[in-house]
């Protein structure tokens, strides 16, 4: 019976307490982290189950809902929270073995400190019902992301992070100005109250606010042409960070954007303007450009960065349709992509950890040395392409169906074309993986450590499971549109009707 606030403050306490635990005993550090992550996962599951029975509101400081910062846990927020915490849990367990200590003996504690702050930031973004609070957590997630990329201090990571920081700061400024404009034109920061008063805002101001939010969040979830930071950052970052960022980090920004357009602007605004067609076209451009760029890459992490950008394109198409089906399809693709990319990056991390394999050439022959990891990798890659019976196939199918239903035939036509493109480059990767070669392990190596392999395997097989038994996630996702398509439901929920 934990209250939802623990989802955010437990990672914070863990991060702040890390320095103090370290003073007592360095050996206690890892058990402490594992324990905290496990408790956190249990709390999240408990809260999510209860939120599905009845959406929850938590007003901070004991103030009236109208004036307090509220945590709002509606079905979409619950699904996102569950997704974030499952991926983060596996990433934390994986990182316990993956991150090696450096000379200064500071890397491991600082890495975990930042990782837990990142988790808190993402959960805060997802759960909050206050616009400015969203910005604060957005910045926590952003600054810890920059920091985690730097954790190896590689030459390339410095320049990549500078680019990332530049893009991130610009996006922060845009969002900040947008929030200030919303505040000045409605007089409040509570999302439900804004939704009530937003109708009176003049149209021109509305469109400028929309542009600011779109570019601001778009930089973070890597809409083409705002994506340029991502392929430069990913190759230099540690693999668990890639998994968490590609899996749920960019999704948190995407979620914030969905929340803003559906709750603030509302269904009427989307239906009465050309927003849907704009975003659908933009989504198609995003995934086509990203697939074509991915095709040319040799570095695996760069390739998967472009592949992540492409998946964002699909999701944007689905959620901007503003139909029940579109939202379910988009939500399902968010979940699936998190699982698939999580599995791929964690498996790739094992390749890097034992064989220093970073390019397509390097992974030759690993299919024999690391059979289970390679199999997981293959499962996830096939799901990414969108082949049946994997989950990726289902969600892409649902997106096509939703697009056809809304009359976007051309977009629906391009989705299989995109899949075909991804088939080409993923097959190249898989072919290299299973071709003959003599990989040189960097340490005495028999088989990968369980704590490294297990998280990857869990995520990889869950792709297959969700593909065969999609009932449960689809049922859960079926509830999200209630609070999105009709913002008065959200308003009634938050302000208590």
């Amino acid at each position: 019976m934990a209250s939802p606030i623990w989802l955010i403050i437990l990672p914070l306490i863990t991060a702040f307490g890390l320095g103090i635990v370290k003073i007592f005993s360095k050996k206690l550090l890892k058990p402490f982290l594992a324990l905290s992550a496990t408790i956190h996962l249990i709390l999240v599951i408990d809260v999510v189950i209860r939120a599905f029975e009845e959406p929850m509101i938590y007003s901070l400081g004991g103030w009236d809902r109208l004036f307090a910062i509220n945590l709002v846990i509606d079905p979409l927020a619950a699904i996102m929270a569950l997704l974030i915490s499952v991926i983060s849990y596996l990433v934390v367990i994986y990182s316990l073995s993956f991150i090696k200590e450096d000379k200064s003996k500071y890397r491991v504690p600082k890495y975990f400190l930042l990782l837990f702050l990142l988790i808190a930031g993402m959960l805060g973004m997802v759960l909050t019902g206050d616009l400015f609070n969203l910005y604060v957590f957005f910045e926590i997630a952003a600054i810890t992301s920059y920091a985690l990329v730097l954790i190896y201090k590689r030459d390339g990571s410095l320049e990549g992070t500078f680019k990332y920081l530049l893009a991130g700061t610009l996006s922060g400024v845009f969002i900040l100005v947008a929030i200030l404009l919303v505040y000045l034109s409605t007089g409040t920061l509570n999302m439900a109250r804004i939704a009530v008063k937003f109708a009176e805002v003049p149209g021109q101001l509305k469109s400028i606010i929309l542009i600011l939010f779109l570019t601001g969040f778009g930089i973070k979830f890597a809409l083409v042409p705002l994506h340029t930071w991502m392929p430069d950052v990913y190759p230099e970052a540690p693999a668990p960070y890639n998994a968490i960022s590609s899996g749920v980090g960019i999704k948190a920004s995407l979620y914030a954007f969905i929340r803003v357009i559906y709750v603030l602007f509302g269904f009427d605004f989307i239906a009465n303007t050309e927003l849907t067609s704009l975003l659908v076209v933009w989504g198609v451009i995003t995934f086509m450009v990203a697939h074509l760029m991915a095709y040319q890459q040799k570095n695996l992490k760069r390739l998967f960065a472009f592949s992540s950008i492409a998946q964002v394109g699909y999701i944007i198409i689905a959620v901007s349709l503003a139909t029940d089906k579109g939202l379910i399809a988009g939500g399902f693709h968010i979940v699936n992509h998190a699982l698939m990319k999580g599995a791929i990056f964690l498996a790739l991390g094992i390749f890097i950890y034992y064989f220093k394999a970073e390019t397509i050439e390097d992974i030759k022959g690993l299919g024999r040395s690391l059979p289970l990891t390679s199999f997981t990798f293959t499962l996830a890659a096939l799901a990414m392409i969108g082949l049946p019976p994997f989950n990726g196939f289902l969600s892409k199918w649902l997106i096509i169906e939703a697009a056809l239903e809304s009359g976007y035939t051309v977009a629906a036509f391009f989705i299989p074309v995109g899949s075909l493109l991804s088939l080409v480059y993923y097959l190249r990767v898989l072919q290299s993986l299973y071709s003959s070669g003599e990989p040189k392990p960097r340490v005495d190596f028999k088989r990968p450590r369980l704590s490294l392999e297990l998280p990857a395997v869990i995520l990889g097989f869950s792709c297959l499971l969700l593909g065969i038994f999609p009932r449960l996630p689809l049922d859960m996702l079926g509830q999200i549109s209630h609070y999105l398509l009709d913002s008065s439901n959200y308003i009634n929920l938050l302000l208590g009707g």
Binding site: L12, G17, I20, G62, K110, I143, K197, L205
Partner: protein
């Protein structure tokens, strides 16, 4: 040519911002009106900015304290400790002695700003910055080794951890008292007479936690940035 394109882009974006600003209309500021009308009574603090920062929107403040925490963590890691020659002790005895006598005054000013945050302009962030100036003065006027010998990195880091933890724990008291996280007046904390030093419920304590955290965090950031080969 490229510069021209950049200029055009910048002007276009700026004119979009200008259009947005001039499109603003007077509206009923319900949030701030509520804060101004009921703030003193409900929070016990007369400084409304502090009341908003540490009571109504205390969760935001926890978030921003976390941002500094993350920044201090990564900067001290990115720029590891090295013997510094960048700032060698070039000042005369006169400067050393006078700065040593100024430092207690700076300390008092910083503590005053923190402790009186709910009564006068100031608060944990401002006061914390002033407190960080002490460590910065040590580094600039003497040198890094002196500064680190006075207050080592691990001590500052510990202060930062404790400050951040204290913020969360004060927030948890609100939950223990039967209300929600970061509740102060609403959880029945002693609000006192507005305008007196012992008033404002949890606000002064939160100010102290933030002051310690920000001071230590900024001192870590400055000392990390100043290190040379």
């Amino acid at each position: 040519m490229r510069k021209l394109y950049c200029l055009i882009l910048a002007i276009l974006l700026a004119s979009m911002f200008f259009m947005a600003f001039s499109g603003l209309q007077e509206v009923d500021m319900e949030l701030s009106n509520f804060y101004l009308e009921t703030g003193v009574e409900e929070t016990g603090a007369i400084n409304m900015v502090t009341a908003i920062l540490f009571d109504y929107r205390g969760f935001d403040t926890l978030g921003e304290a976390t941002v500094i925490f993350a920044a201090a963590t990564i900067i001290s890691f990115l720029l590891p400790k090295k013997q510094t020659t960048m700032l060698k002790d070039d000042f005369s005895l006169l400067v050393h002695k006078s700065i040593k006598s100024v430092i207690p005054i700076v300390f008092i000013l910083g503590v005053y700003l923190v402790v009186f945050g709910h009564l006068s302009p100031g608060g944990g962030f401002t006061g914390g910055v002033i407190l960080a100036v002490i460590a910065i003065l040590w580094t600039v006027v003497f040198d890094l080794e002196y500064s680190e010998s006075k207050l080592s990195y691990s001590t500052k880091s510990l202060i930062e951890d404790l400050g951040a933890l204290a913020f969360v724990i004060i927030g948890l008291f609100g939950m223990i008292a039967g209300s929600t996280f970061l509740a102060s007046g609403q959880a029945g904390f002693y609000l006192g007479t507005p305008g007196e030093i012992l008033s404002g419920g949890a606000i002064p304590y939160l100010n102290m936690a933030v002051g310690a955290k920000v001071g230590a965090g900024l001192a870590i950031i400055f000392n990390s940035l100043i290190k040379g080969e």
